[in-house]
């Protein structure tokens, strides 16, 4: 006989749910029947490199910062959820000659890919579209399984991408991360730690960027006022489209810093190459 602490017991249970989700992903139906799914469960301190790199990228990108801050907070509170990484090599074609990738045949696709394979912020390409759809079905089954086990089902591009860059699931061209948890109510929606990261003004700016016309005054003059405050007609703010060299420079620096961190974690660079 034993008495278990409820929170501790549920936190430990999350790993079992992660295993169940990996099982569900592997059992997902497919269209191409050629997907070779890879999975890995990463827990606790092993997630630190991912969060560190994510925070670096987040210095100039809100969506990566959004996740980095949330993970940092969960780690601090001892509530770090295990993360199920799902990945696959989506660059191998389904051999259907369907044309969705932009090439007439899978042969032409392979010829191009063998010379032009490259990486963006989240994955390697070019990609076979049907493989990407099959991979989506596998990820969806993992999410549905998580939901059935009363855990969160917020599958993430951000943590998956940095995991791939850090060398997890070697050979995968695309990796997504499904945190199994945290325990508690809707913590990915209601992120406590995010409350004070963006002030009201920045929150409003982000919202306006999503739909400026909602706040736009008469545009017939060719230089519309953007109503950014209650007395918007006094000392007005104008809508303007311009190049932003400062942002670009900051972005390039962030990417470089993140890349250096990744190379250090992967043991490619050390202090001898570049002093920390």
């Amino acid at each position: 006989m034993a008495v278990y602490d409820g929170l501790k017991a549920t936190q430990e249970h999350l790993l079992d749910v992660a295993r169940a989700c990996a099982l569900a992903a592997g059992r997902a139906p497919a269209l191409s029947h050629r997907l070779e799914l890879m999975a890995e469960i990463v827990t606790d301190d092993d997630l630190n490199p991912m969060i560190d790199v994510l925070a670096t990228l987040g210095e100039n990108s809100a969506f990566q910062l959004h996740d980095a801050v949330a993970f940092q907070d969960l780690a601090k509170r001892g509530m770090m959820p295990p993360v199920l990484l799902l990945g696959a090599d989506l660059t191998k074609p389904a051999l259907w000659d369907c044309g969705a990738c932009g090439f007439k045949t899978c042969g032409e696709y392979v010829k191009y890919t063998s010379k032009n394979k490259g990486v963006g912020i989240g994955g390697y390409g070019p990609t076979c579209v049907w493989k990407a759809i099959d991979f989506g079905m596998a990820c969806d089954f993992a999410c549905a399984c998580a939901a059935r086990h009363c855990t969160e089902a917020r599958i993430m591009f951000s943590v998956g991408a940095v995991s791939m860059m850090l060398g997890r699931l070697e050979g995968a061209s695309f990796v997504l991360g499904l945190p199994i948890g945290p325990i508690g109510k809707n913590l990915w929606f209601d992120r406590e730690a995010w409350k004070n990261i963006l002030n009201f003004e920045r929150k409003m700016m982000t919202q306006m960027a999503g739909g400026p016309s909602l706040w736009m005054a008469f545009s017939g003059g060719g230089n519309p006022i953007l109503k950014t405050k209650p007395k918007w007609w006094e000392d007005p703010t104008f809508m303007k489209v311009e190049q932003d060299a400062t942002f670009i420079e900051k972005d390039v620096n962030c990417q470089a810093k993140a890349y250096e961190k990744i190379m250090r974690y992967r043991g490619v660079f050390s202090d001898e190459d570049i002093p920390a």
Partner: protein, 261 residues
Amino acid sequence: MARIHIDEWPPYSPSDQAKKDNVLIVAKLMVNAALTAPFTGGVPGHEAEIAYGQKELELIAREMERLAHKEVPERLKKPFLYEAVMVRESDVVVFLGNKRAHETPMDVGCGLCGGEPNCSFVYERLNHFSGIIDVTDRSRDTAIKGPVCVVRAHDLGYAIGSALWVAADCFVDSKACYSVGLAGRNLGFCMNSEIVAGILLGVASKNPYADIPPNYHLTNMSKQVDGIRKITTITRQIPNHPYHTFDPAKKAGSKDPGKEE
């Protein structure tokens, strides 16, 4: 008092029709699940359409057979023909299409489409005005007009996955097919999408989408049943007899009326 009798045989009899009505309910619930599946950025971008009824399904099967013989590569010919049989054995077909992959990319520079840290691979190969893609030219050189935004297409997988999860939860057999989706799209199902998947739904004691023998388009049950209809009529014309007055099975010379050879 009302009675609903349900039996899977004969096909399209009132008893089978009652079963098909049940499957239609599941199909509708599957569409709900597809629309609430997790999508990149939570952005809506999918459409669904349901095909139901013998004639409707027959038209889809025939378009698949046309594709098999005229358009798809040789390695897809038999899968397309076999899956056309499965369409005829299905109760309902659900189409799920992604409206965004070919028209409104995610524009995030993920790298999946062309391996570059921007979306140039797609935009350099499509007709667009400052990033607004023109889809009004709907002519195609390939089955699907590409390239498409891969991260958007990836979303379609979640829609299909959640729909299939619901089907499995309701113990309805299902199969998602490229062939069915392509045929349906050509016939105008989910017409705002370039990439469409077709989901077959069937309720039968034997899963209609598993255990497929060779040349299934020629050896399936409907062919076998027709084989019986084709032969039995001929056969019965030979051992006929004036049954009102004569029973050939009766033992000759016997006084016992029940006694047979």
